[in-house]
Structures are given as C-alpha cells and as structure tokens.
C-alpha cells in the first residue's frame, strides 16, 4: 500500500509535466494542424538558458522567468519564420520541418552548453516532507510541480475564455477565413499561439530537468509521453490532454514500479494502442469520424 502511494505520487508529478507538454502540443495542433515535434527540444534549449543564468549567480526565479520568456520568443519566431511557409503544404512537410528544428536544436545545444549531463537546481527542497514524525511521500518540489502546471493551466484558461485576445485566438484557430473577414490578424494570433505553447513547454522543461537531468536529448521521452497523453485525450481537447497525460504518468509509474523501469515506455505504448483501438480519435474527441 505504501508503495502504491509512492508510485501514485510519482505518477501524478510526472503526469503534470507531461500535461504541460501535452497542452502545448494541443494548442499548436488546434491553431495550425501541426504537431510540433520540436516542442521538447525547445524546452531543453530554454532550460539550458535558465541554467546559464542561474550558474552566473542569479536567483532561480530569474532563470525561471527568463526560460519562459525565451520559450515565448523561440516559439513565436519558429512559427513566423519557419512554419508559416509550410502551413498550406501537405502535412508531412510540417512534420519534417519540425523534426529538422528538433535535430538542429539538439545539435546546437552541446556546441553552446556542452554535451555532458548536468544536474539542475530546484527552487524548493525535493526531499520528502516530514509531518509529525511520519514521512509523507511527496516533496515540496512535487507540490511546486503540480501547482505550477495547475496555475499555468488556469491562466491559459482565463486568457482563452475571458479576454478579447483569447477570443481572437480561438476565432483564428476555429475559422481563419471568417476571422480574417472580421478583422482579426490571423497570422499574428497563430504566432502568439505558438509562443504561448512554447512558453508552456519551457515550464515543462524547468520542471522535468531536476529529475531527468539536463542533456541535449533529455526531453525526447517527455515529449513522446506528453504526445501520447495528448493523443489519448483526443488532440482537440485541453482537458482531455491533461487527463490523458496524467493517466500516462500514472501508468508509466505503476509499470515501472511493479514490473520494471525498462518496460515503462512499452506500457505507455500498449495503453495508447488499447485506447486508440477502442476510440481511434482519442477519449475526449467529438470530431466527425473520417470513416465512410
């Protein structure tokens, strides 16, 4: 029972990180119908920037803010410069483009920051809390991870549902043609959407780095598990993405704990296939079926 609690807490904490990645992927998918395979590499890059800032004696929080800002800039720049020309082309072109960005970032990172694995600081302790003589099975950093992702989700929800800017962004994603007629700068909205998604990815990078460590391909698996969660959730629904990602986090943690850590990714794959066999569009998708 004790182990079950430990695995569950682990699963939820990792799931929160996957959820941030999944949400970023869903935001970009909804806006531009593109899966950004470079999401993880962008997060790795911004986390390195934060590490440089922190190594130079700046407080963690300054590094944190700079990483998120860098994410916003990198995401927006990628959309404006690289993605815009392929948005109207066959979908595979966008896939290859984002793979190109992924490969490029993972090659530049070791040139700039060194290729060796580095540890990454946490803002609060990551040693399990003790209350009244018994060890609780979560640390302040676990709480911070889950809390930060929840806050980010809440802020995004408020921006998208309660502000004019959010309404414009939703309109641009929902129907670019009509949105343009109504005077919305659709291109600008898409750029902003990519920026916000990359900001969320940067958050995931900061939260993942203390446990997976920092090296050029450290976010590869996080991206795949976040993507798995997003697909299980149906790719269209932010709520589904978060639920799917937390589910993936829990499943990986149980497989890893009870069967063997090597088989955790295989467990993720099996769950993905089972869900897709039952619902080929994911759990939370209400889109029209393409089957005849």
């Amino acid at each position: 029972m004790r182990l079950f609690v430990i695995y569950t807490v682990d699963g939820i904490t990792n799931g929160a990180v996957y959820a941030a990645v999944a949400l970023a992927l869903v935001m970009i998918w909804r806006a531009t119908r593109i899966i950004n395979y470079a999401q993880g590499a962008m997060a790795m890059f911004t986390t390195y920037i934060a590490l440089i800032v922190i190594r130079h004696g700046a407080p963690y929080w300054l590094g944190f803010v700079i990483a998120l800002a860098a994410g916003l800039v990198i995401g927006a720049a990628t959309e404006r410069i690289l993605v815009r020309p392929v948005e109207s082309r066959p979908p595979l072109n966008a896939v290859i483009l984002s793979l190109g960005v992924l490969i490029l970032l993972e090659a530049i990172a070791p040139m700039l920051f060194g290729g060796q694995t580095q540890s990454f600081p946490t803002p609060v302790s990551n040693i399990d809390l003790v209350a009244g003589g018994t060890t609780l099975d979560f640390s302040p950093f676990d709480l911070f991870t889950v809390g930060a992702v929840l806050v980010a989700m809440l802020l995004l929800f408020l921006v998208f549902q309660r502000t004019t800017l959010g309404l414009r962004m939703r309109a641009a994603a929902f129907n670019p043609e009509i949105a343009r007629i109504l005077g919305i700068r659709v291109g600008r909205m898409l750029t902003l959407g990519w920026g916000l998604a990359a900001l969320l990815g940067a958050l995931a990078g900061m939260l993942a780095a203390p446990s997976v460590y920092l090296y050029p391909s450290n976010m590869d698996e996080v991206l795949v598990f976040g993507f798995t969660g997003a697909i299980i959730g149906g790719l269209e629904s932010p709520v589904g993405a978060v639920a799917g990602a937390v589910g993936v986090g829990l499943a990986l943690s149980y497989v890893s704990g009870y069967i063997g850590s090597d088989l955790a990714p295989l467990g993720g794959f099996v769950i993905l296939i089972v869900v897709l066999m039952l619902r080929p569009q994911g759990l939370f998708s209400f889109g029209t079926q393409r089957q005849v």
Binding site: I35, L105, A107, P110, P280
Partner: protein, 354 residues
C-alpha cells in the same frame, strides 16, 4: 526491341536492374576502396529500409515514425538466431528476419489501419521509444545493453582465401538492395501499387471501387516491415554487434526524413535520401575536423548541418530532391521541344503531385 521494352514493365525493369547489378559488381570489385565499399553497404542497407518506407508513406500514405524499431526486430531476429544456431546459412537469417518483422508489421498495420495522421504518427513514435528498452529487460535472450555479437559472414571458398568478408557483405547487401528495388518497382507499377495509391488519394473512392482499404493498408505495412527486417538483418552483420543503442529514436526519424527530402513517393528518392543519410555526416564530419574546433562543436556539426538541410530542403524543395530534379528535367525538355518548332510532340503531362 524498343517496343517490347516499352510494353513490358517487368522486362524493362529486369534489364535495368540487371545492368545496375552488373555495374555495382564492377564498382565494388575494382573501383571502390574498402572504405567506400563500407559506406556503400550502409547506403544500400538504408535504401532497402527507406524503399519499404516509401511504399508505406509515399505510395500508401501511412506515416511511420517507428521504422527504426522494425529494423531492430530484424536485427535481433538475426542476432538471436545466430547465437542459437551459428551454422545456419545467411539467406535463412535474412528470410527469418523478414518473416518476424513482417508479422510485427502486420500487427502494427492492423492497429494502424484504424488510425490517421497524427494518431498514427504518435503510435509509431511511441513504438520507436518503447521497443529499444525491451532488450535491457530480457537481458538473458537479447544480451542487455551490451548487445549480441554478430560475426561477419565468411565468403565462400571459391572466391579465394584472400577475399575480404567486408567485400562479400557489400555484395550480399547490394544484391539484396537490387532485388528489393526490382520487386518494389514492379509492385508499385502494378495493380497493388495502384490500389495503394488509390487508398492514399481517396479512401471513399477506393471503398466505392471495391477495395478493402484496411486490408490494403495492412498489406502495405507488412511489405514495408519486411523490407525493414531485411535491412535490419543486414545492419546487424554490418555493425557486427546488435544493441539497443543502435536503434535510437534518431534512426527512426532519420529514415522518415530521408524519404521526404529524397522525394516522397519515388524509389529513386529513397536512394537519394539514404545517400544523404550516410554521406552528409562523412563529408561534413571531415569538414568539421579540418577546422580545429573543440570536440563538443565538431562532433555535432554533421547533425546541425543535417537539421539545416532538412529545414532548407522543405522550404525550397517541397517535393523533395527527386521531385526537384524531375521538375527541372521536365522544364528543360519543354524548352528543348518548343525550340524545335510547332511539329514537336506536346510536352509530357505533369504527373499529379506526389
């Protein structure tokens, strides 16, 4: 003679591929040095796999980000069989690897036939990440992270005692590649290829003309996987050790990127893409080491240049390098023909994109 060749695809392909085989035999025996043979073997291995992927993704329209995992199944089939029965002939190893990978491909294909676009991409991506972890868990069979050693196949006695095993492997691999391309070229031109393309272009129309879409997709996946298995088996012989680190996510991604920058849907594009996969690191690596850079920079220059090539190729040649060459060639023919005056034949119609 000319009309016979024009009328029989099988004969035309037969003549072309026999000529190609003869040319490759001469090149690998008398022209290339051992290092070139080594690289050409690698090109042929990737070409076998990317040709299969071209049939799946380019012709049938199913994306796979997990072909590295299928290659891994082929490589491990050969390696495990070799540790159990070291005396079995090589051809059996190749066929066994194609069989196991083909079965794996059928399973993935049955699951994949219900999935479209990013859902299929995600599922195959998850496979590419999951499968390389399996050998570490079942270390007693698969040798764990150290992997299994694979002896280089010995050349037959009639070639003489000083015939190098590397050249023998180059011959085997190139022969396998020529046969694979011959079979696939005929398949793609024939009724099966037409069914594949029809499913890719319009599922509804395919269904209305009585094509079983799901079965066609599973068949495409099986063929593609069998090619990956053959490539994986040869890869095991070429690397001489089969370990999980040989089948990273990067391999799967490289295979897909190769067919797209080569030119999606064309078998020639698969060769061009494989050539780029092998030779871009060779050339850029030599260039980087000539610049006296620190190892952190120099080691990553080839990868960075590959990333830049991908991005630029997609922005500049949206139909791949084979497509780019094709349209330049068509443009040139049109100019030549129009300069001959009004009696010239009309220009060949543009083939539909992809």
């Amino acid at each position: 003679m000319n009309t016979v060749l024009r009328n029989s695809t099988l004969l035309r392909h037969g003549v072309f591929f026999l000529g190609l085989a003869a040319l490759l035999l001469v090149l690998t025996s008398f022209v290339f040095d051992p290092y070139t043979n080594y690289n050409v073997t690698e090109v042929a291995i990737y070409a076998i796999c990317t040709a299969g992927l071209t049939v799946l993704t380019g012709i049938n329209g199913q994306v796979s980000l997990g072909h590295g995992a299928l290659m891994m199944i082929g490589a491990y089939t050969t390696s495990v069989l070799l540790t159990w029965h070291p005396d079995l002939p090589l051809i059996l190893m190749l066929l066994a690897s194609m069989a196991t990978t083909g079965i794996a491909g059928a399973i993935v294909g049955i699951a994949g036939a219900r999935l479209r676009g990013p859902y299929l991409a995600g599922a195959t991506l998850a496979l590419a990440v999951a499968l390389p972890q399996v050998p570490s868990h079942f270390a007693s069979v698969f040798g764990g992270n150290q992997g299994l050693n694979v002896p280089t196949p010995a050349p037959p006695a009639f070639l003489g005692g000083d015939f190098s095993p590397e050249q023998w492997l180059a011959w085997i691999t190139l022969a396998a590649a020529v046969i694979t391309f011959f079979v696939l070229a005929n398949l793609v031109r024939g009724a099966t290829g037409r069914r594949f393309r029809m499913v890719r272009d319009n599922e509804v129309a395919a269904r209305l003309s009585g094509i079983d879409v799901a079965r066609t997709q599973v068949l495409a996946y099986m063929i593609s996987a069998a090619c990956a298995g053959l490539a994986g088996s040869l890869f095991a012989y070429w690397v001489t050790v089969t370990s999980p680190s040989g089948f990273t996510l990067n391999l799967s991604l490289s295979l897909l990127t190769a067919i797209v920058i080569g030119g999606l849907g064309s078998l020639a594009g698969a060769v061009i893409g494989s050539f780029i996969l092998v030779y871009l690191p060779v050339w850029t690596g030599g260039f980087a080491s000539s610049l006296n850079l620190s190892s952190n920079v120099a080691n990553n220059v080839p990868l960075a240049i590959y990333g830049i090539v991908l991005i630029v190729a997609i922005l500049v040649f949206p139909r791949g390098i084979a497509g780019g060459i094709g349209s330049i060639a068509r443009g040139a023919t049109r100019i030549i023909r129009s300069s001959r005056g009004p009696t010239a034949l009309p220009a060949a119609p543009e083939s539909p994109s992809q």
